[in-house]
């Protein structure tokens, strides 16, 4: 009996080893709370632009992908702790982040804007913003930008963008600052956000907002980084990117 077990285990091990070499497995960290880029639908499936791009990139690289959801403020630590091997979560490429992780080429780049209630009458001037509360997602480039450039506002930091929308509808914050597309599709175009609008200038200073959103990997994984960059180019070239892009946005966000 014992011998049989050993043989069975050995056989099973050869089998898994064989199949692993046939198809490499890649675990990708996603956020799942940042519509329309990444969210969870009512039946519990991950949906959104990031998710579809992640799957398209995996197909392009011919690897088997497992998506792992992780809250934003722990998303880089979990990558470093090898909970997954890459992050596809609309993460902007910045100097600060480059000290901890490496990035692929960008896969999209959209500006940041403010959101207000339609009848609020708030303008982007020093006097109008004085003492107003502005909601932002903690640890994002929008947080850094707001902290540095708008010292007169009362910054409220949220763990997820969804919580910021909840407090916006409850009237607890006067303004939100976040990615324009994320707020437009994730809030303004939804039923809850119909009384709200994006306004003011588009912010995209590279000093704060970096060079667009890229795929983050651990620093030692340079090979994986280059393969991901090549895969982004691949789906740009073969039209897969465009078909995903057109499902979500009226214009090319690359």
């Amino acid at each position: 009996m014992k011998k049989f077990l050993v043989a069975a285990v050995a056989a099973a091990m050869t089998f898994t080893a064989g199949s692993a070499s046939a198809q490499e497995e890649l675990r990708i960290g996603v956020e799942g709370a940042y519509p329309p880029f990444s969210s969870v639908d009512p039946s519990g499936n991950l949906i959104g632009f990031d998710i579809e791009i992640a799957n398209a990139i995996c197909d392009e690289m011919k690897v088997k992908c497992t998506l792992v959801t992780q809250d934003w403020d722990g998303i880089i630590p979990a990558l470093l702790a090898k909970k997954y091997d890459a992050i596809i979560a609309s993460m902007s490429i910045t100097e600060e982040r480059k000290q901890k992780v490496d990035f692929s080429e960008k896969y999209y780049n959209t500006p940041a804007r403010f959101l207000r209630k339609k009848d609020s009458g708030i303008e982007i001037t020093a006097e109008s913003l004085e003492g107003k509360s502005v909601g932002v997602q903690r640890g994002t480039i929008h947080d850094t930008f707001l902290t540095a450039e708008f010292p007169n506002v009362d910054i409220k930091r949220y763990g997820t963008q969804d919580e910021a929308y909840l407090d916006m509808t409850a009237g607890r914050v006067d303004l939100l600052l976040a990615d324009s597309i994320a707020m437009d599709d994730g809030f303004v175009k939804t039923d809850a956000g119909k009384d709200y609008e994006l306004f003011g200038p588009s912010y995209s200073e590279p000093k704060y907002f970096g060079d667009g959103a890229g795929i983050a990997v651990r620093k030692e994984d340079t090979d994986l980084r280059d393969r991901l960059s090549a895969a982004i180019k691949g789906i740009r070239a073969n039209g897969v990117y465009k078909s995903i892009n057109d499902k979500y946005f009226d214009f090319d966000i690359y």
């Binding site: 934003w72 403020d73 722990g74 880089i76 630590p77 600060e96 982040r97 901890k100 909601g135 903690r138 640890g139 947080d143 850094t144 409220k156 930091r157 949220y158 763990g159 919580e163 909840l166 407090d167 509808t169 409850a170 009237g171 607890r172």
Partner: protein, 238 residues
């Protein structure tokens, strides 16, 4: 680990400390005062008095503090008429009031049960003596039961105070920048979870130490009559 980032962010931690040092004492003082009547209600044999107090402590001890905080903050925020109400009462707009409310309810429930237990254990001789002196029911409560119970409840209550301090870390989940909130900001700004949370931990450690020390003094002061005097001990030994 690189603690140099923490040095630059120390003002943020002190800002957080200030908030923690407001929320916790406020909720504890209010909770202490409210717990005494709730404990007395819990001891009543009249169900109309006892049951509401029982329901209150049962709910707030039976659910996690985080759930209570979310119910009060996020839940109330979604009610119709909430935003109209915030125009009248500015304090309803922020998270501060809701954190204070949740902590207050929570600590009241636990403290009331601690006091109830201590009151129920009042030695019968003390009450009998008070009756023999002709004290009324309320006077016995005021002069004998409550002071005697509070003394006995001190060690258990000091635990509740420390739990409340650590429970207050949950305020950071509803946008407040307390000690933990400061640590979360630092963590997400520098991707340095160890440095950020170890620093917050040190602050909590110091606060806890101060509380333990304070309670030792308080216990010593109020339970002086229970301490054996040195000579007595020697007599027993010889």
């Amino acid at each position: 680990m690189d603690f140099s980032v923490i040095i630059n962010e120390l003002p943020l931690y002190f800002e957080g400390l200030l908030l923690t040092a407001q929320l916790v004492p406020f909720s504890l003082i209010l909770g202490f005062l409210a717990a005494i009547p709730v404990a007395i209600m819990r001891l009543s044999r009249n169900p109309l008095v006892n049951y509401p107090a029982f329901a209150f402590t049962y709910f707030f001890r039976g659910t996690p503090l985080l759930v209570q905080l979310f119910l009060l903050y996020a839940g109330v925020g979604q009610l119709d008429g909430y935003s109209a109400l915030t125009k009248e009462f500015d304090f309803l707009k922020g998270a501060y009031f809701f954190a204070l409310l949740a902590f207050f309810f929570n600590t009241t429930a636990y403290t009331a049960e601690i006091f109830r237990g201590a009151m129920a254990e009042t030695p019968f001789g003390e009450i009998e003596a008070a009756k023999a002196c002709g004290m009324s029911k309320w006077m016995i409560l005021r002069r004998i039961t409550i002071p005697s119970a509070l003394r006995r409840a001190l060690p258990a209550y000091s635990n509740e105070v420390i739990f409340m301090l650590h429970g207050s870390a949950l305020a950071s989940t509803i946008t407040l920048v307390d000690l933990t909130g400061a640590a979360r900001i630092v963590q997400s700004r520098y991707y340095a979870p160890f440095e950020a949370f170890i620093t917050a931990g040190v602050f909590y450690f110091v606060l806890t130490f101060l509380l333990v020390w304070a309670f030792r003094l308080i216990e010593k002061h109020f339970n002086k009559h229970l301490n054996r005097r040195e000579e007595t001990v020697i007599e027993v030994v010889t």
